[in-house]
Symmetry: C2
Subunit: 429 residues, 2 copies
């Protein structure tokens, strides 16, 4: 029987298991064979306990379970419960609410916010800008929605945010596009764990101000803060103050997600929050994103929305959740510190890590290195420019062991590039 | 300050409250003023108890609440839990699984299934086909995604499915398009409550076979069965057998939703289920819809998926849920019967109702009639071609009262069209 294709050409995609899902499955199988204690599974992008079970914040989960039936069962409004939208704005900005007009619309996690931003705020065919280390779905989202992802080098030679590369690339794109959407994931960048300093944020906003000098251009900064509640203290939100008093042709959309902050990944709840000096722009945002919701997934998970609303209506609940989150934040920091220390000892180069769920290890031939690591019972995710090691899902002890083994695997793969010819080392063709 | 627009032109939409949400809010306000017993709120598209509270199936909700933390907290796979996909296929087809290749992908309710179908299976600018009585978001989904909705007359003069109109319109569109997506909502059509008979389904599939005679065309039938579990008995799925052994250039996508079947609207869980004689077509479906998921909302609500999987792994749980659902089905049928009987007595014309949450009342100037009804403390939704009365949300007693009042309101509005001039009735200009 011949192959009959139905899908419109631009929407056809090859099959194949998700890379992360596949590596995770192999890790679990290996655990079953040789014991969990002998396998290091650093593939999962969620906080896990030392025994490999999912970390669930009891305070959040118990409150969710205590909601009245109807608060879980009923439809939420298309744009989200009004009290959720208010709470999301509070949760997003904390003590650093920018001086600007602000509107929020509920979305299924941060992913929905990315989709609506790309869809509403760029033109078909446009380039969407992010850094060369990036979360894979940024590319999927751009491509699937008929745009393309372009990148600038994230780090300069001093392992700082590469403001020159950002300036150059964004200026180049603004030359040829009416609109520019910039996806910037900080703090606790996935996959590197980098967090821009306040000074670096100032440079970014300065660059964006410059891009906006031509009043016909529209610059949209999409600030992905998915991991912010696991990054430093409350003052890690300081940069958000910079989103106030921007030129009128600059729009900031902050992606707020409950997935990590409440360990409620599977409930699919987040919000896109718009910040602008122009009131009309925020109204247009609300109206257009509400219709975009209706035209794709309709509405969000009501119970999760109600939970966030309740947190901001109940000081005790809020305190309880923050207390429990602090415990997990410490757990995460201990693991990351353990990994960093061991990396130094093993001479393993990593991207500059500040906060968050992941550490990235630059290397050549990441797929080969990942395969070599699997032979040594370590499972990490191969990216274009290196490996992603999820410190969020690996115990402190294992984090201390992994770097030496990773370094060895990199050397093994590296050594395959060389051969001895006439008594001399030569690079293979 | 001037108005600065950021949104790309095709994605700009005016504001304004959702029509249904607005009418519902006014009804609730009126209830507060004059008492719930004196107001008939027929706006809400969900099963409500006689006292206006949401009907929640305890059997489903209690099992959801009993799930382990991680089954609610963790991410589901992008395409959905494998055991959910299997269960959705079983729940969808019951004893009438078609003889064909079948694949399922999880989506946020039926809405997500509509979106992925329009997006993947029609070309930009294409017409999407449905009947002239239709659920509003069919239009939103088509428009927002760069397509347009076209319609055929749903009923013929005998109040049956208008197969001639369907044949004519679909043939016309296939002349000019390579692909045709047909949205067909049956049984228990929203907003009319119509259900195609098995004979009518045969005519529909016969027409589709005819459309497919040109092997270069791709015909995609999107069968929206959102309300099927409240429509007749198990044999109401008999038509699904017709989805087997179709020509290879016909694809059927069935939209299965947990929203109504488990009264879990707010958990946003459903599946799109592909049926084809061509194995490649179902594989392409799975791969492309999985990527479409990743490029929009990422993944679905895991807890709801796990619930459905459990239902199909536990006979007792399944029986308990079916028993409770039968209670609500009877409640709904009693209300609908009460409304139909009173309509006959009052001489109120309705669309031919068979099953489901809504009755539709054809009338001129639906907005004016709805307004007139609100003066008489009845709240219904004005559509293009008449009113939608949600029998699902109104007690049997109120359903018996409403038709006379609706008839009066229609007459009142109708009478405004006439004037007496020189002693004779004349239609106003």
């Amino acid at each position: 029987m011949s192959e009959i294709s139905f899908v419109t050409p631009k929407c056809r995609y090859p099959g194949g298991d998700d890379k992360i899902f596949g590596a995770n499955a192999r890790a679990n199988q290996k655990s079953g064979e040789i014991g969990f204690e002998n396998v290091i599974n650093a593939t999962v992008g969620a906080l896990l306990n030392d025994d490999g079970s999912l970390s669930v914040m009891k305070s959040a989960m118990n409150h969710f379970r205590s909601l009245p039936d109807a608060e879980i069962s009923a439809y939420a409004p298309i744009a989200g419960l009004p009290e959720f939208r208010d709470a999301a704005i509070k949760a997003c900005f904390g003590d650093y609410r920018p001086d600007a007009h602000i509107e929020a619309v509920a979305t299924p996690g941060g992913s929905g916010a990315i989709r609506n931003t790309i869809w509403n705020y760029s033109d078909p065919g446009d380039a969407i800008l992010t850094s060369d280390w990036y979360w894979g779905p940024y590319d999927t989202q751009s491509t699937v929605n008929g745009r393309r992802l372009e990148t600038y080098k994230l780090f300069n030679d001093s392992d700082e945010f590469n403001i020159d590369a950002f300036r150059e690339k964004s200026a180049e794109l603004v030359e040829t596009q009416d609109r520019l959407v910039i996806l910037l994931n900080s703090p606790a960048h996935n996959p590197t764990g980098y967090s821009l300093t306040d000074k670096e944020w100032e440079s970014v906003m300065g660059t964006i101000n410059k891009l906006a000098e031509n009043p016909d251009k529209r610059i949209v900064l999409f600030a992905d803060i998915a991991y912010i509640d696991f990054a430093g203290d409350g003052s890690s939100r300081g940069f958000m103050k910079l989103f106030g008093s921007l030129p009128e042709n600059v729009l900031v959309i902050v992606a707020y997600s409950m997935s990590k902050a409440f360990t409620l990944y599977g409930l699919r709840s987040g919000a896109m929050i718009c910040v602008s000096s122009n009131k009309y722009a925020t109204e247009e945002f609300f109206n257009s994103c509400q219709v975009a919701n209706r035209g794709t997934w309709s509405n969000g998970t009501r119970g999760a929305q109600k939970l966030l609303a309740d947190v901001y209506a109940d000081e005790n609940l809020k305190a309880e959740i923050e207390w429990e989150r602090a415990y997990y934040k410490t757990l995460l920091e201990e693991r990351a510190t353990s990994f960093q220390k061991a990396s130094k000892e093993a001479g393993l180069e990593t991207c500059p890590y500040r906060h968050g769920f992941f550490v990235a290890i630059p290397c050549d031939k990441p797929n080969e290195v990942a395969e070599e690591l699997e032979n040594r019972n370590i499972y990490a995710v191969a990216l274009q420019k290196g490996l992603r090691f999820a410190v969020c899902s690996v115990s402190k002890d294992k984090c201390a062991k992994a770097p030496k083994i990773i370094k060895d695997a990199i050397i093994t793969v590296e050594s395959r590039k060389w051969k001895v010819e006439s008594g001399k080392w030569k690079e293979k063709d």
